[in-house]
């Protein structure tokens, strides 16, 4: 009879258990959050490395243009003809061949290319795995009052781990007639 008249017996323990479950739930959430933050460590590092790799690709592309400008102007001339619709099949073939060869030097995945040697050096220096290349290399002209401004438009990419970064630069160039 007395037992039945004691309805609060065990309530304290039950409440403590509820609190404990709530605390354990919070701890679980915290642990999972911490794990995801550990992943973002790697992401930050990879992002910086990818940016460095893209910078390397950009430097290589600008340097090649500086030492071999006439090679690029051959490509540019053929591309202009193609865009105007006055290029024949032979010119289009020549354009494709030259452009492929021009861009091949910038891709780190091409074995034997200058980019591959730079990649090997960067990988060795940092212990990471980089790759980089150039997506776009073109000459864009903008008509100003009485003259035309020419810009080299280069879009380079760099990757490290799962992170990829893209750099784009417009460099004013002066084309002598």
């Amino acid at each position: 009879m007395k037992k039945m008249l004691n309805p609060r017996k065990g309530v304290a323990l039950a409440m403590v258990m509820v609190f404990c479950i709530a605390i354990l739930g919070l701890v679980t959430i915290l642990v999972f959050n911490t794990r995801s933050h550990r992943g973002s460590h790697t992401y930050q590092h990879d992002a910086s490395r990818a940016l460095m790799a893209a910078t390397a690709a950009m430097q290589l592309a600008i340097y090649k243009y500086r030492v071999l400008p006439s090679e690029y102007y051959k490509i540019h001339t053929l591309e202009t003809l193609k865009n105007k619709g006055t290029a024949d099949a032979a010119a289009v073939n020549a354009l494709n061949t030259l452009k492929t060869a021009w861009m091949a030097d910038f891709q780190s995945d091409n074995a034997g290319s200058p980019a591959a040697k730079i990649k090997a050096e960067i990988d060795q220096s940092t212990g990471g795995n980089h790759s980089f290349g150039v997506e776009e290399f073109s000459l864009v002209s903008k008509a100003a009052q009485g003259y035309t401004r020419d810009y080299l438009k280069i879009r380079a990419w760099g990757a490290s781990g799962d992170t990829r970064k893209v750099l784009e630069e417009l460099i004013e160039v002066r084309i002598s007639d």
């Binding site: 701890v27 911490t34 460590h41 930050q44 910086s48 460095m52 430097q59 340097y63 061949t97 060869a101």
Partner: protein, 205 residues
């Protein structure tokens, strides 16, 4: 029926007299709470450590990128030859502006330690030639070489077979510049220092 004296004196049974907690219940509750709270404290401590390390790493990466940017704009010839006695470093940090120097000794440099909060960041740099300028009088294989293809593309295959694959390069252009790899290291007391490396070309032409 008349009540006895004992029944008159003793208080009536009240169920609320058991509403309080017994010592055993309190001790058990404390024990269970301790078991639950201890891992929580550990988790908070771990979370704080991870957050702090993340901030330190982010700062180290920003410092590394800032130093790479400084090295990318420094005089190329002096940098390549390791002829810079001291390179000024002016870096904006959350703690304010930091002014220091990088002292070069040949291809290696060490910077003034940067202290942000309780963490000390030690910056180092290395300049290494990865391509050597081609020498006409004594040719070597360590120069940067660009390939060159004939502009005369191969003719397309008959019967609509498409174009042939591009031919192998028929010539190479060997560059007459030393080209360098820049490596920056930032040690912030973490398990592994931050290491960033990139390539710099000579744009003096």
């Amino acid at each position: 029926m008349p009540l006895s004296a004992r029944e008159k004196i003793s208080p009536p049974y009240c169920p609320s007299s058991r509403a309080g907690l017994s010592l055993v219940e309190i001790l058990m509750a404390l024990l269970i709470l301790t078991i639950a709270v201890l891992p929580a404290i550990g988790a908070f401590s771990g979370y704080y450590g991870v957050a702090t390390r993340q901030m330190e790493q982010e700062m180290a990466l920003k410092l590394g990128e800032a130093v790479v940017n400084v090295l990318m704009t420094t005089n190329y010839s002096e940098l390549k030859e390791g002829a810079i006695p001291a390179l000024p470093l002016n870096i904006q940090t959350p703690s304010g502006s930091f002014s220091g120097t990088m002292s070069f000794a040949g291809g290696y440099a060490s910077g003034t330690p940067v202290t942000i909060g309780k963490t000390k960041y030690i910056i180092g740099a290395e300049v290494k030639k990865i391509f050597l300028a081609q020498d006409i009088t004594a040719p070597h294989n360590n120069a940067l070489e660009f390939s060159w293809l004939s502009p005369d593309a191969p003719p397309p295959l008959p019967f609509g077979g498409g174009a042939l694959p591009p031919p192998p390069p028929i010539a190479t252009y060997s560059c007459f510049n030393d080209l360098i790899c820049l490596k920056v290291t930032v040690d912030f007391g973490g398990a592994k220092p931050i290491e960033l490396a990139t390539f710099r070309a000579d744009m003096a032409r």
